[in-house]
Assembly symmetry: C2
Homo-oligomer: 282 residues x 2
Amino acid sequence: METRELRYFVAVAEELHFGRAARRLGIAQPPLSRAIAQLERRLGATLLARDSRAVTLTPAGAVLLREGRAALDAVAAADRRTRRAASTAAGEPGLVLATKAGASSELLPKLLDAYAAEPDAVAVEVLLCGIGEQERLLRDGRADVALLHLPFDSTAGLDTEELVTEQQVVVLPAGHPLAGRAQVRTADVSALPDLPLPRWPRRDGSYPDGPGPEVRDHAQLFQLIALGRTVAVLPESCRTLLRPDLAAVPVPDAPAVTTVIAWPPHSRSRSLAALVSTATRL
Amino acid sequence: METRELRYFVAVAEELHFGRAARRLGIAQPPLSRAIAQLERRLGATLLARDSRAVTLTPAGAVLLREGRAALDAVAAADRRTRRAASTAAGEPGLVLATKAGASSELLPKLLDAYAAEPDAVAVEVLLCGIGEQERLLRDGRADVALLHLPFDSTAGLDTEELVTEQQVVVLPAGHPLAGRAQVRTADVSALPDLPLPRWPRRDGSYPDGPGPEVRDHAQLFQLIALGRTVAVLPESCRTLLRPDLAAVPVPDAPAVTTVIAWPPHSRSRSLAALVSTATRL
DNA sequence: TCCGGGCGATACCCGTCGGGTATCGCCCGC
DNA sequence: GCGGGCGATACCCGACGGGTATCGCCCGGA
């Protein structure tokens, strides 16, 4: 199976429409139809049900969509990592660290400083990404290492080391009645009638349904909290980012958040090992 | 990057010889040279140093060898799993469970029986494999789930659940002086002058150097122990396999062995989830 | 009921490229 | 100094990927 065939199939499987998929791939529709038919013939499997007026995935097609995406990511990672290894001709290439924008605001600078002080540290590029994107970045080679936050992020298929565990706090407008409390419970927070919890984007960029406002980053979120439109439960290290018009109150019964450093399991880079070792010693 | 190019490169990188690699691939040498040159041109990287009389990997080539193998495994897994999903047209396909031949002799039958008793269990094929092969089988799609034994096997890049932890025992000829002891220490075992520990094959099938005999499986091993040529330290569940002319003595200070059930992280199969859940309830 | 339009499949042509054979250039070792 | 091993180059051919034109099918509206 060639990667070209996989790219073609994934495009059709995602669009469920040969014409659109062909346009996305920059080719005409007939060669695409032919390529898919040939792939089906070679696999001995029907991947798509061409029910007139609608294309749907067969069970085998669903398997190939999932496995094919993973395989294409692995190929993309091989390409990217090889280019990077070549472009930094002498010595170790730099590292790319992925983390959610706004998260780990305390830990990250400490980690970067500590690592930079190591004898043979290499340059670390920080790649800020959206919610849940880190795993993808590691799998397709755009990043070498990432900071994840359990239990929100998935560490499936990654090697990890736990770094710190923090309690969560609820972030409120400074004048809110709960802001004076020493602590609150999750029930108190979710029961606030006029302050629905915000909605974060899903993997594909769409938002779940619900009453809360749609938010993309912490600056947006804090603005909306200050305006009295929402509240949020965040790890307590977010206190360092708080504006003076916001207050944070511990929520002891909210799940603790563990920051972990994660990397692709087959990595064998000296500099990555040094960075991880520095992180665990913080 | 096409999988054909990756296959070609991996072959050359493993053989470090264009002629042999071409023969292995079933093509002539000139097209192979051209394909590698084209891959290098497209990546903008020199992958192989053609020092006259010897081909060696550049650092970028070493990266592509490692990443390329992983990518080829992922493509092979996509192919195999799609075929299997298609061939079992109705309902869930069966599961393939990989385990080391001779290991988990107590746990495996219990697991298979318990799972078979589940309401919608599917057929489970057991694939006996060599030391350390399970990870590869899971990655390239030949197996869906495996039993691994920590700390010997690597679980890098796999999702796992721990099943049981056992102490280890030393297996001796029944008449050996230590056979009557209630327990021994690792120091006692490694100090036995005429009974060197056996040598197990490495990933690539070669054996490490050393005085002990080369063994491939437990039947071989027990035969050699009975002949007084070696001793072995094994998990205590191996007692059920012992022949009457062998004895087992606990070794409390040997590392405990944990059997884990492992599967590829992106699996989303109902029957796999049921098997894992059955295993954890044993 | 018929017609138009949307969509995937088919037919057919062309250019590129992958693969083969022959040969060269280089270097090492006898 | 020469023979042989090895990778690169030259050149040819056939296969296959991609394009355009068109068909067949089905649904929906008049």
